[in-house]
Amino acid sequence: MRASSKGHRTLITVIGWTVGLVIFFPILWTVLTSFKTEDEAIASPPAFLFFHWTLENYVEVQSRSDYLKHVFNSVTVAFGSTLIAILVAVPAAWAMAFAPTKRTKDILMWMLSTKMMPPVGALIPIYLLFRDWGLLDTLSGLVGVLMLINLPIVVWMLYTYFKEIPGDILEAARMDGASLGKEIVYVLAPMAVPGIASTLLLNIILAWNEAFWTLNLTAANAAPLTAFIASYSSPEGLFWAKLSAASTLAIAPILLLGWFSQRQLVRGLTFGAVK
């Protein structure tokens, strides 16, 4: 009995590591390639670890484009859009979770359905609006559009977390003399901190990695890291090593954030299914 359960556990461990390494391999390969010369990067068969380790790609990338400016833009867009989305979504999710009407489910489904349309379907109208309102290549425009495209997910996640909070406790707060605002600030929000935190993290990552809108609505001023990577896939040809260096630089901050907040993220990704 004991031996078989031990064997079972070993098998699970092996499968776990295999799946993990397969998923992680492209990132590892990108990082390794970023330390190769352009010749070694396209060599066949490729060298895994035994090549001339060099930092020349990073130097080249930094001299060709302003990495820190793109980081600043990414941070602004990811954090800005997520924070505004949370501020809008908390009252919305509160209403849906604790004062539902017979249309609440329909509204939630409708919000989710907006995520089912391919974004390119809305590109031309949004591009024209941005052009007419002078929002093209501005951070505020980008924050706005990313906030809106992620809002359905933020509302859904907060809604599922709020549903887990017993309504009795909010009613107790009302009986204790709390106004609606105080009820949210003193009772609901502190109880929902884990849920709000994982929603925050997941949406920062989504906004950070968002490429479609950021590439189409920015040029130079407001371009975040996604545009920075894309600029290395140029008409003159692909430079794999430099592209890898740019990618490594672009994903490093968000990878570190994700690493340090794994527990919250897992909760976020399971959408409140795990207590």
Binding site: A173, M175, D176
Partner: protein, 333 residues
């Protein structure tokens, strides 16, 4: 002060009439128990008084003022929930202090009040603990502490003891009764347990299907139930109902006789039956007796009474304690 008057209060849920329209007067300082089977509307009625549900019609007056549209926070009522509904992220101190903090009292006043309440409820040693580190009885006391600090016009209790074990329930019942003696504040207490209703209430309101069946003191309801529903609901074990010849003989369509008002004999009596089951409580013995032509009858006798299953036994109802009901179940007086 804490008088509460309900005038034609009604409540509909999605077209379903839960409370069709109900009048009730609760005087200042009374301990009123709403009792009834599950789904009778007793909790809904309490929530209407609290303001946690909106009325569909009628008026709710608290101390003479119309509070029908007033939000719960401004009705100056305190509520103790079945689930306790403590704030899990706050300490016991924080929980008890919360209503005072919401009322904008200053720190020193809050501290004094919280410590007084904690002393009354034996919670002084637990003030720094979080609710999850407390037992069920302690949590219930925190919920009561949170209710008393704001000195409400009335306390509302929504089945507060149903999550506690039997022994603790008896203790808490006494504590709540003592609290009422000490504070003399109006209390409205909802329960499905008629023993809680009988032992705690000044006045019992028996509810069934959203209607008031009878209002009265515990012994009034026991002695003179207004109808068969109240007669069957109040008293344990339940009243026996007999129809047919025995009822017609007394000019009623149904007669009711409580298990404790039947005299048992092994030799002679009005009804002859066979013992089906005996339950020994030590102080009492409950016998379930199958009487041919009448049906199963429960009888109660004090002390130990040994009767074998299948043994013949005679029952004689105490005629002065027989309740008469007409065809619609109303009592014939």
């Amino acid at each position: 002060m804490g008088s509460i008057v309900l005038e034609k209060v009604s409540k509909e849920f999605a077209g379903f009439n839960v409370i069709p329209g109900l009048d009730l007067t609760i005087s200042d300082g009374e301990f009123v128990v709403f009792v009834g089977p599950s789904g009778c509307g007793k909790s809904t009625l309490l929530r209407l008084i609290a303001g946690l549900e909106d009325t569909s019609g009628g008026r709710i007056l608290i101390d003479g003022a119309d509070m029908t549209q007033t939000p719960p926070a401004q009705r100056a009522l305190s509520m103790v929930f079945q689930s306790y509904a403590l704030y899990p992220h706050m300490s016991v101190y924080g929980n008890i202090a919360f209503p005072l903090k919401m009322a904008g009292r200053d720190k020193a006043a809050i501290d004094k009040k919280v410590r007084e309440a904690a002393a009354t409820l034996n919670l002084t040693d637990y003030l720094d603990r979080k609710p999850r580190a407390l037992s069920g009885g302690q949590r219930q006391r925190v919920a009561i502490g949170r209710a008393i600090v704001r000195e409400p016009r009335a306390f509302l209790f929504d089945e507060p003891l149903s999550n506690l074990d039997a022994a603790l329930r008896v203790n808490m019942r006494i504590e709540i009764s003592e609290l009422h003696q000490a504070l003399k504040t109006t209390m409205i207490y909802v329960t499905h347990d008629q023993v809680e209703a009988m032992t705690m209430a000044d006045k019992i309101v028996v509810l069934n299907k959203g209607r008031i069946e009878q209002v009265g003191s515990p012994l009034d309801l026991y002695r003179a139930p207004a109808n068969a529903f109240v007669a069957g609901f109040i008293g344990s074990p339940r009243m026996n109902f007999v129809t047919g010849a025995d009822a017609e003989k007394r000019g009623a369509s149904t007669i009711g006789i409580r298990p404790e008002h039947l005299q048992l004999s092994l030799e002679e009596g009005a009804w002859r039956g066979q013992v089906d089951l005996s339950e020994h409580l030590g102080s009492d013995t409950f016998l379930r007796i199958d009487v041919p032509g009448i049906g199963p009858i429960t009888a109660r006798t004090t002390g130990e009474f040994s009767a074998k299953r299948g043994a013949a036994i005679f029952l004689t109802p105490d005629e002065s304690k027989v309740h008469l009901f007409d065809g619609s179940g109303e009592a014939i007086r």
